[in-house]
Symmetry: D2
Subunit: 135 residues, 4 copies
């Protein structure tokens, strides 16, 4: 089991009816996507055609920051607030959609964009599934 999964297993109180698997998958996807976007922004910076990748870099940086914040909010279960959780998940899905689309446009030319676009799409899907599971 991943450490994120172990942390959910060892949370001392009830998780409050949340779908534990979807929650764990979403935390893991946020953490993975944040790292991929940070690395993809940097890989774009080192491409000779960096001048054509500035929107991609910017979207990567936004997505990294929003995924980081979302992974942290989701990792907290004490004093759970459904309204805030939903708003943060919506912002994260929007960031991942924007970055997945942008990186997807460069995926055939840059392998780092292809890997990053996949991470963004997984994270967007995980956010939307968790939103749906929140009811």
């Amino acid at each position: 089991m991943t450490v994120a999964g172990q942390m959910l297993e060892t949370y001392p109180k009830d998780l409050g009816g949340v779908d534990r698997d979807k929650l764990r998958e979403c935390i893991e996807a946020c953490v993975e996507c944040a790292q991929a976007c940070t690395a993809c922004a940097d890989a774009c910076l080192s491409e000779d055609m960096v001048a054509e990748l500035t929107k991609c870099i910017r979207t990567n940086l936004d997505c990294a920051d929003v995924c980081d914040a979302t992974g942290r909010v989701l990792s907290r279960r004490t004093g759970y607030d459904a309204t805030l959780t939903r708003a943060v998940l919506e912002a994260c899905a929007a960031a991942c959609k924007a970055c997945g689309d942008e990186c997807g446009q460069h995926a055939s030319m840059h392998e780092h964009c292809r890997v990053c676009a996949e991470a963004c799409r997984r994270c967007e899907r995980a956010c939307r599934e968790l939103i749906a599971a929140l009811g």
Copy 2:
């Protein structure tokens, strides 16, 4: 002028029709609120009645993370994405509302919660005004 204001003044391209004053105020409010929430979570931790402040601490931590991410997204102007900006501002307003309400309940007893609640309300207002200005 603040450094955030100077950074907006020296941005080399057009800011794209955004209301510069509202943008600057929102960036400054996010940065200020993130720090206040980090400090308020810690001040709550050192109160003798910490056991009654756990929801407040959690909400502070969430608000700090979301304000941080929002201040960063707003500080970027290259390849501006209105959909993402709006979603992030909505999440930030929700985080500030939750934290302002929670800290507000302890404001008469804890001065740090009073100061923090005011920072949250300023930031929530700045987010909503910027959303309105985005049109």
Copy 3:
């Protein structure tokens, strides 16, 4: 291969003589430890004996922030700066040592502290091995 590993594989320029496996392990350990510490701080908050865990919570929060920043710095390879990398790794090792020791004291009583202490020790070790590999 993990996404972090794939991002290193697809970096378009030379990685500059760094030990790729140790770098990947350290990035992965930072990301994992940051999430574990965020979750452990929250789990401590929900313990009935939270008043005895305030130092643990604070150390968890510091460790999460420093590991996050370190994972980001290490994920960037463009314009590599050995002095900065080393200073950040030293700070991260110090944060992980402090948090591993603190959580370690509660490991027999709280499973989340046990899991988190192990993540901290792995990350401290990964930081020290990467420092050594930098030469």
Copy 4:
């Protein structure tokens, strides 16, 4: 008084002998510098000569992340740990030195780099003065 100053004033326990003015100045400098570096990275991205600014962008991103983490660690006073505080301040001073030097090289050509270099130097100085004050 700034909000950061008010949060220090309202901390419920003793601040433990730290020089309050130097601490407040360092927190404020970290927060200001993190925002300036985020904005400078983005301003560099929108320069026509972005291909010559990739090292500057990378250093800006590192400095933003390290200043953010440092501002958070310094904003916490509960369970104070001098060893960790010192290591984080050393990393922050190194990040600000690297970014101040790098931005300083472009200061005559790019106003955003000039403003950012000054923020980095103020923050580096504030870190070093706080390290000295820690004894």
